[in-house]
């Protein structure tokens, strides 16, 4: 009776009178297909001159024509110089020593130029060049080629000329003089002797002028404290290499605290030598790089940190200010303080608490300790800003007493919390001039927007630390019609000649015993450094005042700067936007970090959705003053102190930014009174935010062989076999070392060079400089937020971050070992996926491991990836057909596939999509096309160049000549590169070190990248 069987198509059929059923019976499609629109009009169809046949003819012809046209090769033009500059040889790189300070970041650099265009930033390693480049400085080379830069001077928003700007300024100053209005120079911290001289001359000529220094991210309290004790407005340049015990109270000194740049000194003390290494206590609220590196980290609110600081002060100096601290924390802090006291001159205490009293206590404690790391000679000159003076200026502007305002290197409309007030006040200023790289928020509202050159196009001089002197020199002719702020100042001062002449003349007063050419060549000059004699202050009063600190009402918002964007100057830099934050591993965003406990309370969550992307709730932040930031994405951050939330500054810019870069929210709007700690309330908001997070896995799940960790005690007392266990496998039912079993015959690698890259996990702070350096060296494309979310990021080098699930990694390992039975394993592993509330953190840079027995090589059907004798796993892009077998077979997941064409493609509107941005490309490295696999090449272009130079000069290569982009960029010395066939090479010794291990050694891949066991001094 099959014919009676009736198939129901929908519930609608139950209703006999349903119109839908009837309609479906008669029409195949429920909705009318609009065929009439193009077929109904018979007249149009018949009168059309193109018949179907014609159409096919056209198609055929155009296909044939296109095919024929494609057969003809393109004609390339080659245009030589008319007059070739003596020092430029096409194809040979030139290096220029220079220095940078942009008001936030600073470094001594070597800039690599090819055919007259800078393409890469390296660290200046000459003696006296103290500061290595961080990720932002490495990326700043791309900001030079930013297509959104301000290209012409603008007056009232219209393109103008420099002579018009000059005369407008001169007449405005004359007008100000006549009317008695103020002339104010509002600049970032300059640290430039010649510029300060020019400003002094300007003020000398115009008595109604004054100079206000404004730091977007303020260190005013530390400056005030130091000034009140030592009489100099400067910051201490701590030398952490001299400290055996470091206590940091809320200071992310491995991040951007007081300008950063402390990591190389810190790392020196972290590598165990003769059984000794420094010990580091970190008391903080947000999880920071310093907290991740610390041996012991206590998560606590800033209010508690203040109490802890007073407690430490009490213990170290023997004072007795009242301390109001939770007993458990008190016990821990007391232990740390006692150790600090015991360490004496080998101890140091630093603090990032923005409170003058707290900063006074830091001075007091270090004075009592007579800390060697704390030195008042060669103080840092990189922050001078005064919060009071900026506030005063805004009041003056409001009152209408400021006639002419000249701004340089600042963007107060974006960075001031009272931005609206500033904008209103700016309207009362008759003439406002902004010197800026971009037509940013402030430039848009100024009467005159003056395009300033990038530092790579400028002359200048810097005194980063007292007694040191460095020169900024241009490495390329100005790309646009730009002028330096100093050049205009010279014109206003009535000086003739160029700013270069002025710098040179000024240098002769500073540089003694050296010549201008020598200083210019070296980039730096170290003069005589004298220490400031210490004064004193009423420390106990400060301690008592600090002890009065009250906790925040609901939540304590701690504002910080991220590794990627810093203060937000380079927001239009795609490399920095795509650099994953070392801690959260989220790129292209800022977000509020919330502790697990608070998240549960407020119903905030993160989850990984079906496509592998990370989603998070939104929250609304409201400060006690009623300032509101709505729809802030939430990241639940392990290690975040309960009762505190973190939010990064530098995001949420809109002006002069490509659409893709306009991400995040402007946290400066909450930066009230330049205080990085605000009392706020937090509430869940509707919706889900889509993050671009590159690491979903939070913990190691007890897999201690990925990041091998041990404590200094075990390291000193036990055999290497114990803390650096060799993986074993079963062969013929016997346990043998995994390295002894092999599927392949080994090649003889004893001749020629054999490269190894050594990574010391003890020294790696996760700063990300290597990632950006790799981008710049190897033309790594930027793929954008949506693609990163799909796990299609192209980073050749990633820095994995792991949290422990228990309070330590050792605890994780133990817990895993103790799993008994299947059911227990399921539940335990489930729990171990979650990070602990105050976990240990480890970083692990992972790039292609250049396995001697590479799994990727054996599966490539076209032999596109093969092994070189020098140990490099080579990737021939032109041979690759894109099967992606290699990526699937790679145990380290370091291969990256070009899912799209990332250059000259408007879908990926980053630097490779415009002529200007492509100028940063390294001409020695191929730009990969769509459909090919790519990965770390161990900078084969650099090793080959080193070899060729030696061959040409007919000499042996000495240790240290072989470098990769990442090892060059590594300022902590965590990455060392070299030839292990050179018995004397440093890397050879590192490869033979007891701490050496290979990643996933049991797989038997025999990698050429080696790691060193992380030792914690707990």
């Amino acid at each position: 009776m099959s014919s009676n069987k009736k198939y129901w198509k929908s519930v609608e059929e139950l209703d006999e009178n349903s119109s839908i059923v009837e309609a479906l019976k008669n029409n195949e499609f429920v909705e009318e297909i609009p065929t009439d629109e193009f077929l109904g009009n018979n007249d149009a169809l018949s009168s059309s001159s193109t018949s179907r046949r014609d159409f096919l003819k056209y198609v055929g012809f155009s296909t044939a024509a296109a095919t024929l046209a494609a057969c003809e090769g393109p004609v390339h033009k080659s245009i030589p110089y008319v007059l070739q500059p003596e020092q430029i040889i096409p194809g040979v790189a030139d290096y220029y020593a220079t220095s940078v300070f942009d008001g936030f970041d600073f470094a001594n650099l070597l800039v690599k130029t090819r055919e007259g265009r800078p393409i890469k930033i390296d660290n200046n390693t000459i003696a006296g060049a103290k500061f290595a480049a961080n990720a932002r400085i490495h990326a700043s080379i791309l900001s030079l080629y930013d297509s959104m830069r301000l290209k012409e001077p603008k007056i009232e928003g219209k393109n103008s000329t420099w002579s018009a700007v000059d005369s407008a300024l001169k007449s405005s100053i004359a007008d100000a003089k006549a009317k008695g209005g103020q002339i104010v120079l509002l600049t970032n911290t300059l640290a430039s002797p010649s510029t300060e001289e020019l400003i002094a001359q300007f003020i000398g000529k115009n008595p109604n002028a004054k100079h206000v220094v404004y730091d977007a991210v303020s260190s005013s309290e530390a400056l005030d404290a130091f000034e009140s004790v030592y009489g100099e407005r400067a910051l201490v340049d701590y030398d952490f290499s001299k400290a055996s015990l470091i206590v940091s109270v809320g200071a992310d000194f491995l991040g951007d605290w007081q300008g950063g740049g402390y990591d190389s000194g810190y790392a020196k003390g972290r590598i165990p030598k003769a059984g000794k290494m420094s010990r580091h206590f970190q008391l903080e609220s947000n999880m920071t790089l310093s907290g991740a590196a610390a041996d012991k980290r206590f998560a606590m609110s800033t209010a508690n940190q203040k109490q802890a600081l007073v407690l430490i002060y009490n213990i170290v100096t023997g004072s007795s200010a009242t301390v109001n601290l939770d007993s458990k924390l008190k016990a821990e802090v007391t232990k740390a303080a006692q150790q600090l006291k015991a360490a004496g001159s080998k101890g140091v205490l630093v603090s990032g608490i923005q409170d003058k009293n707290a900063q006074l206590l830091v001075l007091a404690i270090n004075q009592v300790l007579a800390s060697e790391a704390f030195t008042t000679s060669g103080t840092r000159q990189i922050r001078k800003g005064s919060n009071e003076k900026v506030a005063q200026l805004i009041n003056d502007m409001k009152a209408g007493s400021v006639h002419t305002l000249i701004m340089s290197g600042v963007n107060p409309v974006y960075t001031l919390a009272d931005s609206k007030i500033f904008v209103e006040a700016l309207k009362k200023v008759k003439t406002s001039v902004t010197f800026s790289l971009k037509e940013d928020e402030t430039a848009l509202l100024s009467t005159i927007a003056a395009p300033a050159p990038h530092y790579l196009e400028s002359w200048g001089d810097l005194t980063l630390t007292k007694g040191s002197y460095s020169i900024t020199q241009p490495t390329i002719r100005p790309l646009f019609n730009t002028k330096q702020f100093q050049e205009i100042l010279m014109s206003l001062n009535g000086l003739t000649g160029s700013y270069y002449d002025f710098v040179k003349a000024n240098a002769s007063t500073i540089v003694s015993g050296s010549t201008w050419n020598k200083v210019l060549h070296d980039g730096v000059y170290v003069g005589v450094v004298s220490s400031v004699s210490g004064g004193s202050a009423d420390y106990s009063a400060a301690a008592n005042a600090l002890a009065q600190a009250k906790p925040a009402q609901a939540f304590e918002l701690v504002l910080y700067t991220k590794t990627g964007l810093g203060d937000g100057q380079q927001a239009n830099n795609p490399w920095l936007q795509e650099l994953p934050d070392p801690i959260t591993r989220v790129s292209w965003d800022n977000y509020v970090t919330v502790s697990n406990a608070d998240a549960k309370k407020l119903g905030l969550s993160n989850e990984i959705v079906a496509n592998g992307g990370l989603n998070g709730s939104y929250a609304t932040i409201t400060t006690v003053d009623g300032l509101k930031l709505e729809n802030v994405p939430v990241i639940v951050q392990p290690g975040q102190a309960v009762g505190t939330v973190g939010l990064a500054l530098g995001y949420g810019r809109r002006a002069a930014l490509k659409e893709e870069m306009q991400v995040g929210l402007n946290a400066y709007s909450l930066y009230k009174g330049f205080n990085d700690v605000q009392s706020v309330s937090l509430a869940k908001a509707d919706g889900e935010h889509e993050f671009a997070c590159v690491q979903g896995q939070k913990t190691l799940m007890g897999r201690g062989d990925i990041i091998k960790e041990t404590t200094l005690e075990i390291f000193n007392t036990k055999d290497a076999e114990f803390w650096n266990e060799q993986p074993m496998v079963s062969l013929d039912h016997k346990e043998v070392a995994a390295t002894s079993v092999d599927l392949w015959d080994s090649f003889d690698r004893s001749t020629g060079h054999h490269f190894n890259l050594s990574i010391d996990l003890n020294a790696c702070t996760g700063c990300g400089a290597c990632v950006i350096a790799c981008h710049a060296e190897n033309n790594v494309p930027v793929v954008g937020k949506a693609e990163v979310r799909r796990s299609r990021d192209m980073h050749w080098l990633r820095i994995d971050r792991y949290y422990s699930s228990e309070s330590t990694f050792a605890g994780d390992n133990e817990r895993k070992e103790n799993i008994a039975g299947l059911s227990s394993s399921l539940s335990t592993f489930n729990e171990m996926e979650k990070a602990g509330d105050n976990p240990q953190v480890s970083f692990q840079p992972v790039m292609c491991q250049h396995c001697n027995h590479a799994p990727c090589e054996t599966v490539c059907p076209v032999a596109a990836t093969s092994h070189g004798r020098q140990g490099q796993n080579q990737m021939a892009y032109n041979r690759c057909v894109g099967t992606r077998y290699c990526a699937n077979n790679c145990p380290y997941k370091v291969r990256r596939f070009n899912w799209f064409l990332y250059n000259k493609n408007s879908e990926f509107d980053y630097h490779m999509n415009d002529d200007l941005g492509r100028m940063v490309l390294n001409p020695d490295v191929n730009v990969r096309s769509r459909g090919v696999m790519e990965k770390c090449s161990m900078c084969i272009q650099m090793t080959q160049a080193t070899i060729l130079n030696a061959k040409r000069e007919g000499r042996v290569i000495v240790d240290g000549e072989f470098q990769t982009a990442c090892s060059n960029a590594c300022s902590t010395g965590a990455m060392k590169f070299g030839d292990v066939n050179d018995k004397e090479a440093e890397v050879t010794k590192l490869a033979a070190d007891d701490r050496m291990y290979h990643l996933l050694e049991h797989v038997g891949t025999k990698p050429n990248v080696i790691y060193h066991v992380k030792v914690r001094n707990t």
């Binding site: 004609v75 033009k77 245009i79 194809g91 596109a864 093969s866 040409r952 000499r955």
Partner: protein
């Protein structure tokens, strides 16, 4: 047995012969050689009074030509007819020591000095008055206009079309005619024979309807199979050949904005390649010389010598090309000064390696000491530069397999040579044994 069609049809023969004639006649026309240029002897020199112009020429070239030209201003003034401008006594004095004359305030001397950018002329005390007479005799020769005869050749081809070309045509035409006559005769004979046969009553068997050859072919499966395999193989061979030459631009010889002749520079004048392409020593690029390098010589060489001209390219043509250089570099010949107005030359790049290949000239030129000609061919004979080698990967690899690495005297190689020669048991090592075949050495 299958009957195969009659292959001796007369019409077929006719077609065949016609075809053959056509083929021959076509080739015979194509064979007409390009007109050979006749180089007329230069016009007789006109003797000048007072000195020996032949000796004078020698002396002129040895001593004066660096700064003076006969017919144009160079560093110094043009010298033709100089004897008409100055007294001989003045000239002797000037040549022997001009700066003394200028110092002494001789009006004519100061004038000459001022006119020539105040450049001091080297004193020639070693030249005797007789020598100077000889030089003056040479400079007093009238300009040999007739010497520029070869100019005409390029413009009027075929005027002197050689006779043997015509005779070739005639012979071939005659042969063709004979052939045609033979064919006609054959046809007539056949006709006569069949008439005779008819008259004798011999019945010529009527032609059986034969199977056309293509059908017979189609029926023979073996033949079809063999020929289709043959066709497929030929096709595959041709397609492969076509595909393999895609992107291979061997003998690429584009017309350049300036007709630069390597024959003149590297060939006739023997200038070292690396004088102009200096970056080949140290850089990955051989470098197209910048125009200031050209001006090192061409400041003084504004025109080519008469002997440089070839039938294809006249002296006037080459001089015009030098003028192009002056225009590009902004050199004012009359004032002997740079004007500052430059127009960079847009050369057409001949050797285009794909982006995914890294090639370094210095590695090959300086380290390996390979002659430029090994890859670029006998450039010194090229009138116009062209691509000599295919620049394919196979070509690179073959060379790396064969070429022995030059290691002597290079300290870099000492250790590697020792180790590798022990490993391979050879004294000389090829680039391939050094790892020169690894993908990553050229592709990154």
């Amino acid at each position: 047995m299958k009957k195969v069609g009659n292959h001796n049809s007369i019409t077929r023969k006719l077609y065949l012969s016609l075809g053959l004639t056509l083929v021959f006649s076509l080739t015979s026309i194509a064979q007409v050689a390009a007109p050979e240029a006749a180089t007329p002897a230069p016009a007789d020199a006109v003797a000048a009074s007072g000195g020996d112009p032949v000796k004078g020429k020698e002396l002129f070239n040895a001593n004066c030509a660096a700064c003076h030209k006969l017919d144009a201003k160079a560093t110094g003034p043009m010298l033709r007819g100089i004897s008409a401008k100055h007294e001989m006594a003045w000239i002797y004095k000037w040549v022997h020591n001009s700066s003394d004359m200028i110092k002494s305030g001789d009006a004519a001397a100061v004038k000459v000095f001022e006119e020539n950018n105040k450049s001091v002329m080297t004193a020639f005390p070693q030249l005797s008055n007789a020598d100077i007479d000889n030089i003056i005799a040479y400079t007093s020769e009238p300009k040999a206009e007739a010497a520029a005869a070869p100019t005409g050749t390029a413009g009027v081809p075929g005027t002197a079309a050689p006779e043997n070309a015509i005779s070739n045509n005639v012979i071939l035409g005659a042969l063709g005619l004979v052939m045609a006559m033979l064919v006609v005769m054959l046809f007539l004979v056949n006709k006569v024979l069949s008439k005779v046969a008819k008259a004798n009553g011999i019945v010529v068997a009527p032609k059986e309807p034969t199977m056309p050859i293509w059908r017979a072919f189609a029926k023979n499966q073996f033949l079809v199979l063999v020929s289709s395999i043959f066709l497929l193989l030929t096709g595959a061979y041709l397609v492969y050949g076509f595909l393999m030459q895609v992107g291979v631009d061997q003998d690429y010889e584009p017309i350049q904005p300036i007709h630069y002749s390597h024959r003149i520079h590297a060939g006739s004048n023997g200038i070292s390649c690396k004088y102009c392409h200096s970056s080949a020593r140290v850089s990955k690029h051989s470098g197209i010389p910048s125009l200031n390098v050209c001006m090192n010589c061409h400041k003084n060489i504004a025109e080519v010598s008469d002997t440089t001209a070839t039938p294809d390219h006249s002296k006037a043509f080459y001089d015009g090309e030098i003028q192009k250089l002056y225009k590009a570099v902004g050199w004012d010949q009359s004032t002997q000064k740079y004007t500052g107005k430059t127009e960079p030359v847009k050369w057409i790049r001949i050797h285009n390696l794909p982006d995914f290949v890294y090639f370094n000239h210095s590695q090959h030129v300086t380290v390996a000491g390979i002659e430029c000609q090994t890859c670029h061919g006998p450039v010194q004979t090229y009138e116009v530069m062209k691509q000599f080698s295919p620049l394919t990967m196979g070509w690179c690899i073959n060379c790396h397999r064969k070429t022995e690495v030059k290691m002597e005297g290079n300290e870099y190689y000492t250790k590697i040579h020792e180790e590798l020669s022990k490993k391979y048991g050879v004294d000389k090592l090829t680039a391939a044994q050094m790892g020169g075949l690894e993908c990553g050495k050229c592709h990154y």
